[in-house]
């Protein structure tokens, strides 16, 4: 197959760099807590990306260090951050109106599972006695124009997180458009799940890991860069 682009699986940072490259210049983006936050390290000034944080800000800068730390300026993960020129602040309903009204070009989220039709499960294990917490995950999943997921393809037990139907409680239905994993990049669309590239394994080896039929990427289909 010609779609393989790397001889080894991608590490978290390489994956973050790949996601960053795929974001169109001028896009408005929300990066979820955890692994997606790494993407910000690889966005270039030329890309002119504006980052949104759900707690009321556009134009969020890098994590604050030392004297920059201001208790009144944090991100959704409650980490102190900085403000870039051209930033703006707004209240929570206005902030979620940006998310829910379809104004964000891309959000990047972690996941427990993604289904073949783009269902997302990333907020609750459903384990008995577990205390659920949802935050803004459902709003992001439902509201952004494109929802990218970053995750390892397999659980620690070797099960695929890309599944025919999610067994974990859903965050959103049919919302995920791309899945970036250590082993491959998947594009989810009306024609099924396409494999755009694989890392350290062939399409056939990848297919053996995923419990539903995959489709090799066709050049005529959705390309790489997404956003504005």
């Amino acid at each position: 197959m010609s779609i393989q682009t790397s001889a080894t699986p991608l590490g978290r940072n390489d994956l973050a760099a790949l996601v960053a490259r795929d974001i169109a210049p001028g896009s408005f983006v929300n990066l979820g807590i955890g692994q997606p936050t790494l993407v910000s390290n690889y966005l270039t000034e030329e890309q002119n990306i504006t980052l949104h944080t759900e707690n009321g800000m556009l134009g969020m800068g890098p994590e604050a260090k030392g004297d920059e730390i201001d208790d009144d300026l944090i991100n959704a993960g409650k980490i102190p951050v900085t403000e870039l020129p051209g930033a703006s602040y707004f209240h929570h309903a206005d902030s979620f109106a940006i998310m829910r009204g379809g104004h964000l070009d891309i959000c990047v989220l972690g996941a427990f599972q993604v289904s073949a039709t783009g269902d997302l499960a990333n907020w609750h294990t459903g384990a008995p006695g577990a205390i659920p917490a949802v935050g803004g995950a459902m709003d992001l999943a439902t509201g952004a124009k494109d929802v990218f997921v970053m995750m390892t393809l397999l659980t620690r037990d070797g099960a695929s997180k890309l599944v025919e139907t999610c067994s974990y409680p859903l965050t959103g239905v049919g919302c995920v458009t791309r899945v970036y994993t250590d082993k491959a990049v998947f594009l989810i669309g009306p024609d099924g799940v396409q494999v755009r590239e694989t890392f350290g394994l062939t399409f056939e080896e990848l297919q053996a890991l995923v419990p539903f039929p995959l489709v090799p990427f066709e050049e005529k289909a959705a390309g790489a860069v997404v956003g504005v």
Binding site: L58, E83, P85, G86, S88, M99
Partner: protein
């Protein structure tokens, strides 16, 4: 992607025949007169226009209506002492009118920008403006179901824009600008001044640049 455009004519080229166009302003305050004039010159027709009024005197929206370019008006207050062009078209059956209480107009525009599928409001319950609409009693009050008003284009006026498209307004000229900017797929703003990015205090930005597509400075 945000664009700074040199002329109002180029800015309104985004308006196509059949477009739904929101136009900001309440009275003359906040009316983007130069953009409306450019829309008149552009020839775009078969428009649905969302504005609080239906044109006044012999200028702006009134001329668009006079020239037969507006198929439908969605507004709260069409009839005024100087709304003669609308009055004539309406009486001739040549323009459609969707009359909406002003607060429902504002809330429906806001709903479109905020991704709300519809809402219940007491405003209009029991009146002829609720006829044919779904109603229900909530907490003992009769309420009417209202749906979002989306638009292809918004034409609005702000005081200043920065390099990121962030906007501030002036006094009661703010009115419909912020909610229309959020409700339209493509928002065109005329401003009096373009300032460097960083010159607007982030605390005081009223419309964040995410809602703005085209900016044109009008002298």
């Amino acid at each position: 992607m945000l664009q700074f455009i040199d002329t109002v004519g180029e800015a309104v080229a985004a308006v196509k025949d059949g477009s739904t166009v929101m136009i900001g302003g309440f009275g003359n305050a906040g009316q983007p007169f130069e953009l409306i004039d450019a829309l008149l010159d552009s020839g775009a027709t078969d428009l649905t226009v969302v504005n609080n009024n239906a044109g006044q005197g012999d200028q702006g929206l009134a001329l668009l209506i006079k020239e037969g370019r507006v198929r439908k008006m969605i507004c709260s207050f069409p009839r005024q002492s100087d709304s003669w062009h609308f009055d004539a078209k309406f009486k001739a059956g040549e323009i459609e009118l969707e009359l909406v209480p002003q607060g429902n107009l504002a809330e429906r525009i806001r709903a479109a920008g905020a991704g709300i599928g519809g809402f219940f409001t007491p405003t209009g319950y029991g009146t002829m403006l609720a006829e044919g609409k779904e109603t229900r009693i909530i907490d003992g009050r009769g309420q009417v179901f209202e749906t979002p008003i989306h638009a292809d284009i918004a034409l609005i006026k702000a005081l200043k824009a920065d390099g990121k498209g962030n906007l501030v307004y002036r006094k009661t000229a703010r009115n419909f600008g912020p909610i229309m900017a959020a409700a339209a797929k493509h928002t065109i703003v005329q401003v009096s001044e373009i300032v460097p990015t960083g010159a607007l205090d982030p605390e005081n930005v009223v419309t964040p640049g995410i809602y703005v597509n085209s900016i044109v400075k009008v002298a």
